[in-house]
């Protein structure tokens, strides 16, 4: 369920990058205040564990398919929210840089969807209350299950909201929501079952290990009111940011789907003072003011409801011919450069792959 670069607009991608960087800086500062006691290697190796754990697939009863561990909630249970968030962020960055899972522009979205919701919402507000102060194995299992389900539902909702705000995909908000949430309910239950099994196993094997408190001593106490306020504030900021993009940056997406629902009539948008102010601010701040407002028929979403089907075959054909030519030219440049390179063979530095030494 990685959000993809192909579906995200610069506004949404940038806003989520901002949220992710802010939470990461906050978490890093919080961690620096805790005593450094083997925290850095533990966090690092647990990040690698998330990858390795995904190799262990298991049969899902009665379906014939298989599942694997996601990791976000498990990390929060072991490490506490801040450290777990940083570990998930690093895992997602490695996935984006090395495996093309998601992509760099969508990285902020993915860190929020898969890291923030699991560490800062599902863990403190679902896992801890359900598990209680002195959890029995049964309670631990139930709490893990509930936290995974909630975390994945929030993550899936994040994907749907970000996709709708970006407006690249044609999927309507409601239908995409109805597609994503049930699928991720199933995934969440499977993930919750295996996370619960691992947590109960860990509790039995290492009763000395204080869960969720290993690295963040303050998390051992019942959550203070201030921490809850900070969490609620962050969510509110996120929501406000998201909603303000809805209201100001891309009014067309929402209005456009409303227009479709309303049977082609353009919905009446109340021209409130706030809306005007937002529009003015948007016009003043927009990096790419022409974005989405191209005047030509081939690109204009704005002009479409009025002028379609004003299709200019001549323009389209010239565009296609030019595109093919562009590709051919780019390919020729590449081939030429390769030929030049081949005539002067590259020297090879010693390979770095001898990484089998183990600490």
């Amino acid at each position: 369920m990685h959000m993809s670069d192909a579906l995200v607009s610069p506004a949404v991608g940038g806003a989520m990058w901002g949220v992710a960087v802010g939470v990461a800086a906050w978490s890093a500062r919080k961690l620096r205040q805790a005593p450094e006691d083997g925290r850095v290697p533990l966090m690092g190796v647990l990040g690698a564990f998330v990858f390795a754990a995904q190799m262990v697939t298991f049969a899902i009863p009665a379906t014939g398919s298989s599942g694997h561990l996601g990791g976000g909630v498990l990390l929060a249970i072991i490490l506490g929210p801040g450290a777990a968030f940083l570990v998930m962020a690093s895992v997602l960055m490695v996935q984006a840089l090395l495996f093309a899972d998601g992509g760099l522009l969508a990285l902020g979205c993915n860190i929020v969807n898969l890291g923030f919701f699991a560490s800062f919402l599902a863990y403190p507000f679902v896992f801890r209350p359900v598990a209680g102060a002195r959890p029995t194995p049964r309670r631990l299992f139930g709490a893990s299950l509930a936290a995974c389900v909630v975390g994945l539902q929030l993550g899936a909702l994040g994907v749907v909201v970000e996709t709708a705000l970006s407006g690249v995909s044609e999927l309507r908000f409601a239908s995409f929501l109805l597609l994503m949430q049930p699928i991720h309910l199933a995934i969440g239950i499977v993930e919750g079952l295996v996370t619960g099994a691992v947590v109960v196993f860990l509790r039995r094997a290492r009763a000395d290990l204080p869960l969720g408190t290993a690295l963040a001593p303050e998390a051992g106490r019942p959550r203070s009111r201030r921490a809850a306020l900070v969490a609620v504030g962050l969510v509110a900021m996120l929501g406000a940011g998201v909603l303000s993009w809805f209201a100001s940056s891309r009014p067309d997406g929402l209005e456009w789907s409303l227009a479709r629902l309303a049977g082609g009539r353009t919905p009446v948008v109340p021209d409130t003072g706030l809306r005007r102010a937002l529009a003015r601010a948007q016009a003043a701040m927009a990096l790419l003011p022409e974005y989405g407002l191209e005047k030509n028929a081939a690109g204009g979403r704005e002009s479409r409801p009025r002028s379609w089907p004003a299709v200019d075959a001549g323009t389209s054909t010239a565009g296609l011919v030019g595109a093919l030519l562009t590709l051919a030219l780019s390919g020729a440049v590449g081939a030429g450069l390769r030929a030049v390179r081949r005539s002067a063979p590259a020297s090879r530095a010693p390979s770095l792959r001898s990484r089998q030494d183990v600490t």
Binding site: L104, S169, V194, A205, L320, G322, G334
Partner: protein, 270 residues
């Protein structure tokens, strides 16, 4: 999924080999390549959703990167194909939902849905292909060093380096465990939920023990809580020219519809 992870690890191995080459692209400062790549991503995402042809001139950057950096196209394209299902899944509904005609190629009318679907695929290929090429021509460690110099929180950079370092070690652990289970399981079946829970728990215990050993080893070598990344980065005129030149190209592509211009000129000549 196991096969997927294994292919991913094999992919990292080949990326590491490519990153060890010495070409004009490899010799550039990692910051120049990182900034240029980010600029390309923003440029790609800034186009309207019905744009297909106007995106294509941006492909010049990854093509030049691959050509001058001696990166074969095959592994990169294979990796993209493996990662593509989500983009395809979300985009494939566009042609079904949006049936408004937006363009015509002679007698064939192209609907908005097909245009936006094609646009999603082109965006996907451009942005992810370029990100893969960045690592293949730079190396993961150098990208991390560049991120640190550009202001990413130190804790996150160290975390990235650790994850990358132990990825192979722990995956080998997991692979051994899976093989041991497979040898003992009747018909080589996958473990059930219960068994998978204890297998993952065992893997977790080993991981925790390993973290303690690593910490002890770090303390033995005089670790005092501060990380010192030693990787000299020098930003020369070549690096600046590289970044500025390519950003200029992206801006030109964004401002002017080059394929349209080219096609029109060609039409006039013919």
């Amino acid at each position: 999924m196991t096969a997927r992870i294994e292919s991913a690890l094999a992919h990292i191995g080949s990326i590491e080999d490519l990153a060890a080459l010495d070409t004009p692209i490899h010799r550039l400062d990692p910051r120049a390549k990182l900034v240029t790549t980010l600029a390309l991503l923003v440029a790609v995402a800034s186009f309207g959703r019905y744009e297909v042809t106007r995106l294509l001139p941006l492909a010049l950057y990854p093509i030049v990167l691959a050509a001058l950096g001696d990166v074969p196209a095959g592994p990169i394209l294979a990796r993209l194909a493996l990662a593509s299902p989500f983009a395809i899944l979300v985009g494939i509904f566009n042609p079904l939902i949006d049936r408004a005609p937006l363009a015509a190629l002679g007698p064939v009318v192209v609907t908005g849905g097909w245009l936006s679907f094609a646009s999603i695929l082109v965006r996907f290929g451009l942005s992810l292909g370029t990100a893969l090429l960045l690592v293949a021509t730079t190396g993961f460690d150098a990208v991390c060093a560049a991120l640190a110099r550009l202001g990413l929180p130190r804790a996150l950079v160290i975390q990235l380096l650790f994850v990358y370092r132990y990825l192979f070690v722990l995956s080998d652990d997991a692979a051994r465990m899976i093989r041991a289970h497979g040898l003992r399981a009747p018909l080589g079946r996958r473990p059930g939920l219960r068994v998978a829970g204890s297998m993952l728990g065992q893997l977790l215990l080993r991981t925790l023990a390993r973290a303690q050993r690593i910490h002890a080893a770090m303390l033995c070598r005089g670790f005092d809580g501060v990380f010192r990344l030693r990787r000299p980065l020098r930003l020369g005129a070549r690096d600046v020219a590289f970044a500025v030149g390519w950003c200029g190209w992206f801006a030109l592509v964004r401002a002017v519809d080059l394929p349209q211009l080219l096609g029109a000129v060609l039409g006039r000549l013919g």
